[in-house]
Amino acid sequence: MSVTQMPLEQPTAAQAPLVAKPRRKLKERLWLVALQILITVLSVTFLVPTLWMISSSLKVSTEVFAHPIVWIPRDPHWANYVTAFTGHLPLASFIWNTVKIVVFAVLGTLLSSSLVAYSFARIDWPGKNFWFGLLLGTMMLPDIVTLVPRFILFRTIGWYDTFYPLIVPYWGAVMALYVFLIRQFFMGIPGELEDAAYIDGASRLRTLTQILMPLSKPVMATVAVFALLQHYNDFLNPLIYLKTMDKFPLAVGVKMFNDFEVQHWEIVFAVSTIMLAPILVLFVFAQRFFVQGITMTGFGGR
């Protein structure tokens, strides 16, 4: 598992230019100009699919299917968004379901991962190394192996077509990566603070919630952002556990729109844009944690 730990030592940003010399030769400067132009074109190309999605969500039907392509709608047709909500697919329910699932799953992830991380970082208990090894071992385990029996398990206990299979497992700290990240962070916090608290009569749970967790905001935020993206984007689990359309989250809802609104690309684009919007806002405000998380773990983003 050393491979997963490795990037932990990498600082986040790369500010140092690869070629840093006080005076640049002409040849080198020409080369940089060429590179600048190339990268500009390429970066715009990378943006095009997303921008096309957003602009098409504001087109009228005839503009979507026009030749040559209409890149910017002449008159933004905001009514598409209204239509998306008032059509026969329950978009508002999709959104509300997503909120419920994501909030409870992320909350469970944060609480359970912190507790478990604390036991690995601060308490000396027999069997600790064994369980920590197991935890690391599950990190690379593909979900797909346990998909069928988990489905059978949840159906047997009557959780089919409920949100429980999408929430409850995450209260069991099954995401080893998050536990590991939080543990690493706890290990870096000096124990003296807690010793002082113990002398004052604080319990372990209190030192965790009132000393360690507040000091661990960066890693908590990173884990929260990742867990949020994971559950927001989760498609396979809701697809197999939910049957009633009114219970679908947005990820499955977008597929519903894609399947049922075949003639109305602008509506499908509008719903996709609605799904992207909160993540985009989150990204603008929490960009640091996205990048931090990726350089720490190599995972995440979606």
Binding site: V3, V19, L32, M53, L141, V145, L147, G201, F235, I240
Partner: protein, 306 residues
């Protein structure tokens, strides 16, 4: 929570550092979660290999018939071929693109933050939304890819409707989402000590020489790391195939996970699906071990690292 609170109260007054009960209590979410949601399902799924099970009926003992069937099932072979083809071509090219981009964005350019955000943006687009959009990007008549190719006089191509072109289209789409790898490479490049590069320059190395003798060797651990992650992820491609092509045309995008999903939840063959899932698991493990073994030949670890 009440159990934990009472455990906390027991300890008030500064408990001993070595502590059986508290240790297990704090670790209990993982211990229970592991036993219930990971260990038990894994054992159960291994046991299911021996059974024929339509969830509407009782499981029937099937011996090794699932394994024998798997070995000669044309759909299974097709899905394995598809996933291998996709992974083996997509991953190396992804690594080349993301590494080159990271190198470029480490040069003293203007607007580096903007570029980084632009290349990173595709990663935050939810996979379902990006699948829905790319399905239309590839549309023969109204898609922007054919429109752009048309500017260069290329006739419309039926990307997702041609068995020979569907997988290449998927591979092309995967290049759009290399932001994560790029971010990791950029961080790594920023970590390379200036002194090493200067030393190489003093030895007469030009930019390309520095790249080959200093930068690339120091980056091999991250290249390896990105490669392992990308391989594992590529083998499990599901959402685009499910949304854009439903495995078609002529099973050209029937990837392994989609085939497992169909067997389990559309054809009701739980035992067979478990068998296929184990096969995929063993392939991924095998591939990863192989990569680690080969990595000893080309990945450079500094002395005293780890």
């Amino acid at each position: 929570m009440t159990v934990l609170q009472s455990a906390g109260r027991l300890l008030t007054g500064g408990g001993p550092r070595r502590d059986w009960l508290t240790g297990y209590l704090f670790a209990s979410p993982f211990i229970l979660g592991f036993l219930i949601f990971i260990a038990y399902p894994m054992l159960h799924s291994a046991w299911l290999i021996m059974f024929e099970w339509d969830p509407l009926r009782e499981p029937e003992f099937a011996g090794f018939s699932n394994i024998l069937k798997m070995l000669e099932d044309p759909k299974v072979n097709k899905s394995l071929f598809n996933s291998f083809f996709y992974t083996v071509i997509a991953v190396p090219v992804q690594l080349c693109i993301s590494f080159t981009l990271a190198l470029a964005l480490s040069q003293p350019l203007w607007f580096r933050d903007y570029y980084r955000a632009a290349f990173y943006l595709p990663i935050i687009v939810p996979l379902v939304a990006s699948a829905v959009v790319w399905q239309r990007v590839f549309h023969p008549e109204f898609g922007i890819l054919n429109e752009a190719l048309g500017w260069f006089g290329v006739d419309p191509i039926r990307w997702l409707f041609e068995p020979q072109l569907a997988k290449p289209a998927f591979i092309f789409m995967s290049f759009w989402a290399i932001g994560r790898q790029m971010v990791i490479f950029i961080a790594g490049l920023g970590n390379i000590p200036e002194s090493l590069k200067e030393a190489a320059s003093l030895d007469g190395a030009n930019a390309f020489g520095r790249l080959r003798t200093v930068v690339l060797p120091l980056m091999t651990p991250l290249i390896f790391y990105n490669m392992v992650i990308a391989t594992v992820n590529s083998f499990q491609t599901f959402i685009p195939a499910m949304i854009m092509t439903e495995g078609g045309p002529s099973d050209a995008t029937l990837f392994v996970v989609l085939n497992i999903y169909r067997n389990a939840f559309q054809y009701g063959r739980m035992g067979y699906a478990s068998t296929l899932a184990w096969e995929l698991f063993l392939i991924i493990v095998g591939f990863t071990i192989m990569q680690f073994v080969i990595s000893r030949r080309w990945v450079y670890y500094e002395e005293g690292d780890n």
